[in-house]
Symmetry: D5
Subunit: 148 residues, 10 copies
């Protein structure tokens, strides 16, 4: 976790990131042990995703965090999104924002054409990140899957 | 094209949308005939993607637009993104924005972990929209693929 | 329709409001004849709600508007929300905004407590406005009903 | 209470939320014992609603908080609304904001038609949240009732 | 009416201001003939106050405007406030804004102390402007009177 | 003083509000003993008005605050206005802001008509708050008096 | 007058600038003939300063503009300041803004020290621009003179 | 220094203002002893102007501050302007901002006419504040002198 | 010139871009014939750079534009910068903005270290764009050269 | 490092700047010893550039910072850009921003003309600052080199 973000994130963020650093684990490794996608795990770390009791137990075991302390920090419901500057100043996150800015009209036109009037849920929603490599180099493949 | 957007979009947008309405074609049909993904076609309609001379000829043929008039309107380079309100007020587009707001930190964390320091290009970039249906209903699957 | 809003609304708004003024009808009367709630009818007039072919025919008949002209204006999908200043400067609309500002945390807390983590849809959503009168005067009752 | 909101809320918020967590009570249970609607109770917790002396006594008894300490924290008048980001970044609260953005014109048109020129009070105002379940799932029903 | 505001105000504004200029009347004179306070008359000219049928007739007679044309322009309900830049750039209007900025806390404290929790209506509200002169020069006295 | 404002107000605010709470006095009582209008007294408490040496002595005596400590806190000149969010989120203060938004043009028109080109001072300025009661209930009367 | 500003300025701006261009006169020359400072003359051209009847006659004579047409355009009171973007994007104007940003605290401190609590009027105010040349080149000297 | 600004200003500000208060000196007196204009001295206090080694020694001597402590606090280059809210909420500073808003176009027009295309430096720049008194009262005279 | 920018740019922009398109010339070719850097030429086209009489003659000759018409359009001084959205929404321009956001502190630190306190002029300033190609592909080299 | 920025920068910034001040070294000297450009070194100090393990070792040795403490502070990936106010209030950094505002259109036009549609990377990017001196004084030369 970037030290200058520490005050803007919920208390569990520091606990989880510090434990992850001690264990020297990746999100991918944690996710595999928890049985959850690594993006969802990272979202939990930043306080943007809800945890089940099983998640709390798993995180406590995997990262060696006292269960009841973690449970207390993760109690309640996530208050999502409020730590992010919009427009994002961070270049990598800005690129995603820029895709919305540039392709927003096109996505809406295609989605309306394919599905009629309506909306893609950002809540009944899952996402994953994959890496592809070809002779031009590495490619990021992000998949968003949301209920219409 | 929404009539209240007409003045904020480049001149080719009205030409293309009017022709599409006359021909009563979908983006999917146009895209198939052009050999381009339907999202890219919609982005061309909104002035957010560059056309090749082949694209101009194809659009002229498919939509029955005078070639030289269309060529003139599509000359130059796209001035991308400026017609979109940010934050988007349109709910469907807002949902994509919200994904960036909620998952931005998580995407950055996972991408850095998988690829190291760097960035996903929003320019050397392609995207597609697919529809999946299961017993819960329809699902939107958006794939973003960008060069690292 | 307020004359100073005319340019910010889609073309059908002027058509519909002018016809409504000529017919001197209320939204309630139009809604009854269309079989739709009056709030939804008003939302159609402002370009914020989708019409079915039946709606177009009904509006054409009720308001005496040429069917094919209206059908053309109402074609496509609504581009919602973009004509509204946020924060709303209009006092009546501001009061609704203020309710979100003042009760937003409370609504979230109660909804999470009652329904768990999740969200109320603003799309699979209906709303109605009723008038109650008691010895203190008139009361507005607005009901929002959204899918969890 | 979300830990990252703690500094933006008044002092009584921490006191009340900590006691509620210790007692493991819901707003509904507290509201029933206080004889107040659960939304109003949550609004008190977030510092957006005024308490009567009876409320203070009830909260002190129900939650096991020292009466004079609580009374001191709840003295004075609420300074409403200032902790909420507008536009709300939290998705659930954003949906309510979006309803104002999308239906604001329609509400105003209907209210003016039904009540003439005027305004719905957001102060002489009550609200409640109910849960309905049908074969499509759960529905949130929010009722706003304000003096015209 | 300032020419650069013309496009931001409703259509009746131009009609009324042009007629007022032709008749070379002040708001005070018009108000006296209409039996309304001059500030309310000016607010009607700018589209921020509702007119009764009697107001329309009076304005038509006093200013020599065709009654049915004026009635049509003044039909509907005012869409208040949206033409004003906030913060106001105009120095005279900014001074009023500055009073809110500087005295807002003090007004709230005094009003809560005098009236308890609640709010002053800006709708059930009247206001007047008077001129006082003493040896230091002229003084503006603005009175705001609103229902608690 | 609202606890969540404490950090945004100057140091004397806490001193003065705490002493006022201990003495259980109203601004009206303090103002009478100081020979100043209660609104001005509240403005001093929030750091938005200048104190004379007599004010400091009076406040020290009335509220039982050590004179030299208070004098030091009140030394210097007020840095006015910076603690107030604009637009105000607090509903009561917002109503005053809304009056500027809705009546700003009208006030300017009337003031120019009555006084010619110029401005009302917000500095050579006094204000008072009065309570009137009639059969409709309580009314707030705020008077602003400024040098032209 | 910059052509892209034409729509944001009042109607007299175009009249005056066009006439000035035809006569090929400088503001200094016009000001000398009118007996007013050149900065005030420029402010009249941009609609930010009030004209006396003598000013109108002088401008009409000097610039060869029809008197009654000009009188009508200059009637009413200036609606000041609203055409300027703030922060100014124009570099020369930004430099003045930057002086306020960098020296604002210092000016306030010095002015309070020299004059006590109070304010410099921006209305009972005059300003002039002079050119000084020394061996380092040209210097701009702007003098602001305002009533305390 | 206003206590509520303390956290937004650099560390030397507190040191310098506290010492100035102890010595009970004005900026004018300090400036005379340092051989610098009082406005520049105030700008140093607020962290907006660079100090020479001679300035540090002078300030240390005049104000009785430990030389090496002060030298350390004043090391580096000023990070100018960032503590000022723009638009300024403080009325006195706002008046200067308002002058830019109202006279910006006029200054640019006059400066271009007198000097051609170019800009007035806000860096190779000096400024002073003078007090003039006539039978109308006190006048502030602020002079800005910048390299073209 | 992008058609959707046409209204935000000064009148000469349309004249110049239309002529350039007719002549089918690049900025590089025009610049060579005018003896000015191509970036400066493009800045003239967008109304952000001043032209000399020689420039006007050259542009008139090269592009086949009537001299006196062009001279009139280019008369006066550029009103720079106001057509650009900030933050830029256009991705290519955003990248330059992002460099300022990411490297701003570093540039300031290095410039202060190398030059002492002061500033780089953005007015006594020239810039050029070059293309370099190596085995990794094409590289853009932008050089900024400003007077300290 | 400016003391008022300390809280907005990551923890390593204080460590690095304090050590640099103790060693009394310039960025140029540090950069030479590290084998990296001085601008990149400054960017590391402000938390806007990634370090390699070699960089950490070099910084630790050169500046006398405990290796493992520094390594821990520099672990993870930079969260770029978020400490910078945009628009920058600091005059020197503002000048770079102003170049984007004034020359943005021109850069885009030239880059599109030279390279076709695409973008200059701000990530695969290097930059340097040089000092040139001629008889007019010192000149800053900033070179930006980015992958197309």
């Amino acid at each position: 976790m970037q030290s200058s973000l520490r005050d803007r994130l919920p208390v569990q963020s520091a606990t989880l990131f510090d434990a992850k650093a001690s264990k020297n684990m990746t999100f991918e490794e944690i996710g595999k042990q928890m049985g959850r996608n690594e993006v969802a795990v990272a979202a939990i770390f930043y306080g943007n995703a809800q945890t089940t009791p099983e998640d709390v137990t798993a995180l406590s075991n995997i990262l060696g965090i006292d269960h009841s302390a973690l449970e207390k920090q993760l109690a309640g419901y996530p208050y999502r999104g409020h730590a992010m500057d919009m427009p994002p100043k961070e270049p990598l996150i800005y690129r995603l924002y820029e895709i919305v800015q540039n392709y927003g009209f096109a996505y809406k036109a295609i989605l309306n054409e394919k599905f009629g009037d309506g909306i893609m849920s950002a809540i009944s929603f899952s996402t994953k990140v994959e890496k592809e490599t070809d002779d031009k180099g590495d490619w990021v493949v992000i998949t968003l899957r949301g209920k219409w």
